[in-house]
């Protein structure tokens, strides 16, 4: 491989695997596409390993359009973890639902490629194209169960609102180009120093934030989240909740901290308000949910609020805390959705709260696993959730945002109610009717095991990973 392509190695591995899958999909065996999942998984794991070996290297490619720094490597790793776990969970899940198809694995890889491109983009054009590659793949994946109206409806809602957000994003790019004459992130940073109050630049930046707000699902651009998460196939929901959020935060952090550094006091104030609204609304509405996927959707909105607390706090602690939070959130959320995905009642997926009554008596191990993921979402020590919240809220206090931290902690207390309610159902209620049982799936169990390992690794020994996260944001903050 020529030296110029080294910074792109993880991207190329994923892209090449996607290409390989397109060919393999056409070859026999016709029935059964499980082998495609294995190939896809191998590609993503190879990209993960490749990204890890690139830690500490810096480089640019394609005339400065793409770059590689520790920040990109860290997020590539987060995204590859998310994709690998989702692929593991998907294999048996698709077969059980009779929707096993080669397209699924190809689209998951293309979405992953888009996410990683967002982390490595150094130009608004690339961010836009990567965002679209990711989004278009996810729109199709959300509608994968095409015989089910819920799936089609979720796909339609995701598509219409996502495309709407794209419109804002593109117009924002156009206005920023009008103000600065460039789309390269570093040159925008250089040019925007002189024209801080240029209305064209400010409106453009605002529209860009609207586009990002949709992708990371912050209030007031969160309306699509519950419907899409509920209706989409659960494995796809897990990917949307973790990977696409990580990618959105990757591009958002780079744009905020390295490109619009001059406006930091202004956007910090704006995001302060957005963070408070996002976590409060997410938590309050989650209380009223009886569908677990929908509850986790609102909970994911609340977690975006917590992550925005870290963005507001800024600096190595705040931004590094966000990266740590993204990694811990990926393990925890994929784990929680994975446990839901393995359970079925009758021929249906077990997504209602009642389906979980008395689960601990019959399937103690799975109930315990799900309970641990939920406790990590609450933020109980010694799980990863505690460390993540501790760092993010701590960073807010260090930066003088005492009230923001207070509101965030109060919100976490509210959140404990609806997470623990599921645990109460599993451990303290009697089961009624048809029993809920876990589907036999080695790959699914392996995914849950890896996610559980992540939750405890980050919970018991968070310091090394936090150091890495802080080293990762260093290139943005200089």
């Amino acid at each position: 491989m020529s030296a110029a392509l080294v910074p792109l190695a993880p991207l190329l591995l994923v892209a090449a695997t996607a290409g390989l899958l397109i060919v393999l999909d056409l070859l026999p065996p016709r029935e059964g596409k499980g082998h495609l999942g294995v190939v896809a998984l191998a590609g993503v794991v190879a990209a993960l390993a490749g990204a890890l070996t690139l830690w500490g290297r810096e480089g640019r490619a394609f005339g400065g359009m793409l770059l590689l720094d520790n920040f990109a490597v860290f997020l590539d790793v987060v995204i590859c973890y998310a994709a690998a776990l989702v692929l593991l969970l998907s294999m048996d899940y698709l077969r059980r639902n009779g929707m096993e198809s080669g397209e699924y694995y190809i689209l998951v890889l293309l979405a992953t490629l888009g996410m990683m491109l967002m982390a490595q983009a150094a130009d608004l054009i690339v961010i836009f194209l990567a965002l679209e590659l990711m989004s278009l793949s996810l729109y199709v994946l959300a509608g994968l169960f095409r015989g089910r109206l819920t799936s089609a409806e979720s796909s339609m809602k995701y598509f219409l609102l996502g495309a709407f957000a794209t419109g804002f994003f593109v117009y924002g790019i156009a206005l920023i180009y009008g103000a600065t004459g460039t789309t390269a992130l570093d040159r925008i940073a250089a040019a925007s120093g002189g024209l801080q109050r240029d209305p064209l630049l400010l409106i453009g930046f605002g529209l860009l934030l609207v586009g990002f707000g949709f992708k990371i699902s912050s209030v007031p651009f969160h309306m699509w989240v519950p419907d899409v998460y509920e209706g989409a196939p659960t494995s796809v929901t897990a990917l949307i909740a973790t990977g696409s959020k990580a990618a959105g935060f990757a591009a958002l952090l780079r744009v905020l901290f390295s490109t619009f550094k001059v406006a930091q006091p202004d956007w910090a104030l704006l995001l302060w308000v957005v963070a408070v609204l996002t976590m409060t609304l997410g938590n309050v509405i989650a209380i009223a949910q009886s569908n677990l996927k929908r509850m986790l959707a609102y909970s994911s909105i609340a977690h975006v609020g917590y992550m925005l607390v870290g963005v507001v706090a800024g600096g190595a602690l705040g931004a590094g805390g966000v990266l740590f939070y993204l990694l811990m959130y990926t393990f925890t959320t994929v784990g929680a959705f994975g446990a839901i995905l393995l359970l079925e009642r009758g021929r249906q997926e077990a997504v209602e709260l009642d389906d979980y009554a008395g689960l601990a008596a019959r399937h103690p191990l799975l109930a315990l696993t799900l309970a641990l993921f939920l406790l990590s979402l609450v933020g109980m020590p010694p799980t990863a959730g505690f460390a993540g919240k501790f760092y993010v809220f701590g960073a807010a206090i260090r930066s003088g945002y005492i009230w923001l931290a207070v509101i965030a902690v109060l919100n976490s207390a509210v959140a404990a109610y609806y997470y623990l309610r599921v645990v109460v159902y599993m451990y303290m209620r009697e089961a009624e009717g048809v029993p809920t049982r876990p589907a036999p799936s080695f790959a699914g169990r392996l995914a849950l095991g890896v996610a559980l390992w992540g939750v405890f690794q980050l919970g018991l020994m968070p310091a090394p990973v936090l150091d890495l996260a802080q080293a990762a944001v260093a290139p943005l903050l200089r």
């Binding site: 836009f128 278009l136 089609a152 794209t166 790019i173 929908r294």
Partner: protein
């Protein structure tokens, strides 16, 4: 020679029409057309700004946006057809099996 600000103003008007269209119309196809209008407003602004800057990069970006818009049409129409097959009706008000 028409001044550049005319183009910018026109693009802002088109963009606003697009946003309003998305918010008030009920037919997914019309909503989708409105989104296309938003994208093309951005294209117009980019071409005007690129002309002023005398550089080709904005024009190149326009081609990218047009390509992406075409891809969005392909995916979007497929989704709309799927919904229509299942429901035999086409209005975003009907898309309400999932609510809080």
């Amino acid at each position: 020679m028409v001044p550049e600000s005319y183009y910018t103003a026109l693009s802002a008007i088109l963009f606003t029409i697009g946003v309003v269209g998305v918010l008030v119309r009920r037919n997914p196809l019309v909503i989708f057309m409105s989104i296309e209008l938003m994208l093309n407003a951005a294209n117009l602004a980019l071409v005007a700004f690129g002309h002023r800057a005398g550089a080709a990069d904005a024009q190149v970006l326009v081609f990218f946006i047009m390509t992406v818009a075409a891809a969005e049409v392909a995916v979007g129409l497929a989704i709309i057809v799927t919904i229509f097959r299942l429901q035999r009706r086409l209005s975003v008000d009907e898309l309400s099996i999932m609510r809080w």
